[in-house]
């Protein structure tokens, strides 16, 4: 397999290692050290993709992160698919399989290109805003076709086989970019003793030094790079991160670094020493200081047909020649506005290929590189530029003409040069993306013809990143930045020795962005600004004509800069064109703002390990395994997994069929009402409250009174916010005069603790009280039902006599030989004991209860049965009966409100506001469906007149609804406007299926209204 564009020597590739790869179904060969782009160019592959809007053939134009065209679909397996891989940043690996993302039936012959050719002129920017409007009903159909053209690559359809992780890094100095500036900065900072991280996005570190023509200390620049890296690698305080892109710069010097750990090895991460490797890793770096040594991006020139394959930016030509030993053509024409780009011609010539001409837009270029080119006999056409590329699927020629830059016009007649490659350079844009992530607006510098970053405190730029380009100056600038950063943090600056580099005399560059054409821009062949989004100079001109005058408008109207390259090549050119059209300066049309990411980052890397089983913690109680083993279905309550119900094998099962949920819940309910059930209640929040002012504090945060609760007693309490709305409830027990144990709802535990601390720390620091969470310390098991006393008696030394241990008492003693606090409280309305033991003993006690409880029919029940039983008693669930708009009075819980407490407790004032005291608020009631078989839908809306036209006035809704085995009927709790005054009235619930249910407003207490059963 030949690589026609591969030089016989040179480059940094490993020629001994041949790698095979497939592109668009065809097999090719490259070398270790190639990028996919380099290997494609080596093999003479011109067309790598079709453009998004016009389906024009596109080739590789750049060599790095700024590449807009060579975006491919990677992957041989379905799960290994990677969409939108930039070929210039993808290291070649053996067996790599890639395809173009657009083009049907293939990228060479794309049927859509006909549409682009014929229809292109009907698709100016914003054309879709101006059409597809009639008839209105057809828009969704039009859109279906528009969507067929959407997207570049495709998502895999299978689960990602790879894993990702995060590393939380902290350093004194973070240096971004390992070119000359970054290396010098790192050496300087590291020598002073600071903890330094150096990252670089490329496959190897060295940046521009890897293809520099200069010699450092008389040696090839790459040799100095190797030495510097070796030095740094040997320093304990330095972390080197190659293949690592700083993708986002967040506040206070928090920077995310995306390290591609295995993407150079394969489409999925190979095993290493038998271990799975992470495909990529996100370093979450908190830095003390940051040095941006991010270099520059070269700007291509905007001329007609500048998108035909064979048009490249000049620097990329040098990179391919010098780093990869690849010359991407035979005959080169260079079009430039500056000296630096001459490197491309010199490198091209030195690889033995022909340089047809250099078109230099300046009248009298005379820098050192220009002189070198002249000395080599290259034809230099001054005051000229390439105005149009010829060719269809590959450049076949360049039309070069004299241009009048001030007048924006072509002067005289163009000359057509025979060539297959056009390299262009319109100057250099400092890579200011990261600096602008934190809100710093870049400023335009006329002397540099570029935006430079505006830096916040603690960050500095070095080298090309702020417009310093000469290698010797870049090194010195880097050293200064690194040393300064370290010394600002208190490290002693240590001087380092920098290599000697011969100074080079460069002539001044001229301002050239769009090259004039003989025809006006709107009539000239397409002059592309943003290649990925097919944005042309004409499009920008049209936008400005239509009134889009700020660059933000222009970008949005044309889609310029919204591609996966984020306009790295095109944005400045686009601004310049808009400025020209509006007769303004570039800074007057706006500035360029970049948002993270610098280059796109895999979702997986941002997610890290927080996926699948580790997406969110599952909190378990001490009895969790027992629940699993006994077939529990679980309900998610906050992060807890709570048993929802315990389906058992049906009595009539043939093949082990399980009960339905309704059957299981009915059985569990009956067990509690008729015998005994057991609930794992460990998840309720528990807060240990100690201190002489504990009682006073409770009185302020609960709605009801706590002054007289005696040790040994328990009381239910409601908590409101100061707007008077209920937000949590629970029981609190008086353990001692200065000691209480508060329980909260499962979901509310953390919030209530923080709430108590908030009031204590910010409003009432004078109160002597401490709060400590003991939720996890205790395991709580509730046995409830008529047989509860009998069962507990078998296992405890506590006197269970109904007088000695009354309802709403608590006692301590032993249960199953384990120290326990037992609370006689009931959420079911039945006799109930809540047994609390240290969680490490919980399983033993639970087992003992079952060992003794079987004969009483001890039945485990879950949250569903709990809900049914409490609803039969009219007990609320905070968050189900309440929704942040319900007061204690709305709940009919005036019995739980201390209106005459001396301190205005939290929520009290709000109860007398205009809206809270008005008539007709929604109030908690019970609902009895007229048809006992009906279980109303939770969330069903309640109306008084079901014949009313839509919109139908609603008076409330069902908050809880169940079938009650005890009543053998459906029943519900609801909130209804003025409900407490409407007892006995009939209301209606019109449902989605067309049925309207009837129900009677009743008391919310359905079972044992006098509360006799819990008092037995």
């Amino acid at each position: 397999m030949s690589q026609p564009n591969r030089l016989s020597q040179g480059g940094r590739i490993d020629r001994s290692r041949k790698l095979h790869f497939t592109f668009n179904g065809k097999r090719y060969q490259g070398h270790a050290g190639d990028t996919l782009a380099a290997a494609l160019l080596a093999n003479g592959v011109d067309i790598v993709n079709r453009s998004f809007k016009y389906s024009r053939p596109r080739g590789i134009v750049a060599a790095g992160a700024e590449e807009p065209n060579a975006v491919v679909q990677l992957g041989s397996s379905e799960a290994g698919q990677v969409p939108n891989v930039r070929a210039t940043q993808q290291a070649l690996f053996d067996g790599l399989v890639a395809r173009s993302t657009n083009g049907w039936p293939n990228v060479q012959r794309d049927m859509m290109s006909l549409v682009g050719k014929l229809g292109g002129q009907f698709m100016p920017p914003g054309f879709y805003y101006k059409t597809f409007m009639a008839p209105a009903s057809l828009w969704m159909t039009y859109e279906k076709f528009i969507r067929k053209g959407a997207g570049l690559g495709r998502s895999p359809t299978e689960q990602d086989p790879d894993i990702y992780d995060h590393l939380h890094q902290h350093c004194d100095v973070l240096v971004i970019g390992a070119g000359p500036a970054g290396l010098a900065a790192t050496l300087a900072a590291a020598r002073s003793g600071a903890r330094v991280i150096l990252c670089d996005e490329q496959e190897e570190m060295g940046g521009s030094l890897l293809d520099a023509r200069e010699r450092l200390d008389g040696k090839p620049a790459s040799q100095w790079v190797a030495e510097a890296l070796a030095t740094l690698a040997g320093m304990e305080n330095v972390t080197l991160l190659p293949r690592t892109t700083a993708n986002g710069y967040h506040d206070h010097h928090f920077v995310t670094l995306h390290e591609r750990r295995t993407e150079h090895l394969g489409e999925t991460a190979p095993l290493r020493d038998g271990h799975r490797q992470v495909r990529s890793r996100m370093h979450r770096v908190r830095a003390g200081r940051v040095v941006l040594a991010t270099g520059t991006h070269e700007r291509p020139l905007v001329y007609a047909n500048n998108d035909v394959p064979g048009n490249l930016v000049a620097g990329a030509v040098s990179t391919y020649v010098r780093r990869y030993g690849v010359v991407p053509g035979q005959r080169l024409v260079l079009s430039t506005s500056n000296d630096h780009a001459y490197r491309a011609a010199l490198d091209w010539l030195e690889s033995g290929r022909e340089v047809v001409a250099i078109a230099d837009a300046r009248a009298n270029p005379d820098g050192e590189l220009v002189e070198q080119a002249r000395a080599q006999g290259i034809r230099i056409m001054t005051g000229s530029a390439v105005v149009e590329a010829k060719g269809d699927t590959r450049v076949t020629g360049a039309r070069v003409a004299k241009v009048d830059l001030d007048g924006f016009r072509v002067v005289g007649k163009a000359e057509t040069l025979d060539c297959d490659t056009i390299a262009s350079s319109g100057g250099y844009s400092p890579v200011i993306h990261l600096a602008s992530h934190t809100g710093g607006r870049p400023t335009w510098r006329d002397d540099l013809l570029a935006f430079v970053p505006t830096l916040v405190k603690g960050v500095s730029a070095a080298g090309g990143a702020h417009g310093i380009y000469a290698t010797a100056e870049v090194l010195a600038d880097g050293q200064h930045a690194g040393g300064q950063a370290a010394s600002e943090l208190g490290f002693q600056a240590v001087s380092i020795e920098l290599p000697k580099v011969a100074a080079r005399r460069d002539g001044p560059a001229c301002a050239l962005y769009q090259v004039p054409h003989e025809k006006p821009t709107l009539r000239a062949p397409k002059q592309f600004v943003d290649l990925q989004n097919d944005v042309t100079a004409a499009g920008i001109e049209l936008a400005t004509r239509e009134g889009f005058e700020s660059i933000e408008h222009v970008k949005r109207y044309t889609a310029m800069g919204f591609g996966t390259d984020q306009g790295k090549l095109g944005n400045i050119n686009g601004m310049a064109i808009a400025a020209r059209c509006l007769n303004k300066s570039i800074p007057e049309v706006g500035t360029t703002v970049f948002r993270p990411n610098y280059t796109p980052v895999t979702f997986g890397a941002i997610v890290g390990r927080h996926c699948r089983e580790l997406f969110d913690p599952e909190r378990y109680t001490a009895m969790h395994q027992w629940h699993v083993e006994h077939g529990a279905e679980f309900e998610d309550v906050g992060q807890w997994k709570r048993p929802w119900y315990f389906p058992q094998v049906r009595a009539d099962a043939v093949n082990g069929e399980l009960e339905s949920m309704a059957e299981a819940v009915a059985r569990e309910c009956r067990a509690v009402r008729e015998a005994i059930g057991i609930l794992d209640a460990s998840t309720l929040g528990k807060i240990d409250i100690q201190g002489p002012d504990a009682r006073e504090f409770l009185g302020r945060v609960y709605t009801n009174k706590w002054a007289k609760l005696a040790p040994g007693r328990v009381r239910y309490g409601l908590m409101c916010k100061d707007d008077g709305m209920v937000f949590d409830d629970g029981t609190t027990s008086c353990l001692g005069e200065n000691h209480f144990l508060m329980t909260t709802t499962t979901g509310g535990a953390a919030g209530v603790l923080e709430w108590l601390e908030l009031w204590h720390q910010t409003e009432w620091p004078e109160l002597q009280v401490y709060f400590t969470s003991v939720t996890d310390h205790w395991a709580t098991m509730t046995i409830t039902g008529p047989e509860a006393r009998k069962l507990l008696a078998e296992l405890t030394d506590i006197d269970l006599d109904r007088e000695a241990f009354q309802f709403m008492d608590w006692r301590e003693g032993k249960v199953a030989d384990v120290p326990a606090r037992v609370f006689r409280i009931s959420f079911t309305g039945e006799l109930a004991y809540e047994i609390n033991v240290q969680a490490n003993y919980a399983q033993h006690v639970w087992d003992a209860l079952f060992a003794h409880g079987e004969k009483y029919g001890l039945t485990p029940y879950g949250t569903e049965t709990m809900h049914v039983l409490r609803a039969e008693k009219g007990f609320i669930i905070a968050g189900q009966e309440t929704d942040g708009s319900v007061t204690p009075e709305d709940l009919g819980m005036q019995w739980c409100v201390g209106y005459d407490k001396p301190f205005s407790w939290i929520g009290q004032r709000a109860l007398t506001r205009e809206d809270t005291k008005r008539e007709g608020r929604k109030q908690l009631v019970g609902l009895k469906p007229k048809d006992a078989k009906v279980v109303l839908e939770e969330g069903a809306q309640i109306v008084l007149d079901p014949t009313h036209a839509i919109p139908m006035p609603m008076v409330g809704h069902v908050t809880s609804s169940y079938y009650s085995p005890t009543l053998d009927s459906g029943f519900a709790l609801a909130v209804i406007k003025g409900g407490q005054q409407r007892m006995g009235e009939t209301v209606y619930l019109p449902m989605a299926d067309g049925q309207t249910h009837e129900a009677e407003i009743v008391s919310p207490i359905f079972v044992d209204p006098k509360g006799e059963r819990q008092n037995v």
Partner: protein
Amino acid sequence: MSNVAIFDTRTDAKIPLESPLAYAYRRFGAPAATARSRVTLRERPFLGHLILRGGAIVLDEAVREVLGISLPGEPQGLVLDAEGERSIQWLSPDEWLVIVPGGEEFTLENRLREALAGAHFAISNVSGGQTLVELEGEAARELLMKSVIYDVHPSHFPVGKGVTTVFAKTTVILRRPSDARWELVVRRSFADYTYRWLLDAGEAHDIGVER
């Protein structure tokens, strides 16, 4: 009853105890440490854990008298006794975590209460609610860097330091009692998640679990 209810939740009766990690061990196993293991995990279950609340000035004398070690004078301080068996850690300006060998906590609480009589303070026994997990080995620090947001570099996290911080999607108390050893104080209900996370993130380091 006194003003505060003191209650020994531990018994000397021979009753099987289950650590917060019991279910995780059964469900996910405990890969044995091998020669290749660059980090090992060891749970030290059933220790006595007390939360001490009160002003430093109030508590210091009593702690020294009863525990024989002084209250950490600085935030993030962790002080151990000579045997390394008993420790007291700063959690907040008025909150300390005391960890002692299992079974000592009730006596300790009583003695502290005695010594502190008359002062405003609180002691809560949380022994059943948390467990101690040790990490050791050359990769322990990297494993922590994958897991906690706090800077665990030795220059920032010397021996004798302890912090409460974010661990993956939960929280831990992270301490460094000795050069080689890190300790995580883990809440019971999050223990399973924490263990699974450590096994997952530690797989690359051949994490071994000592039991």
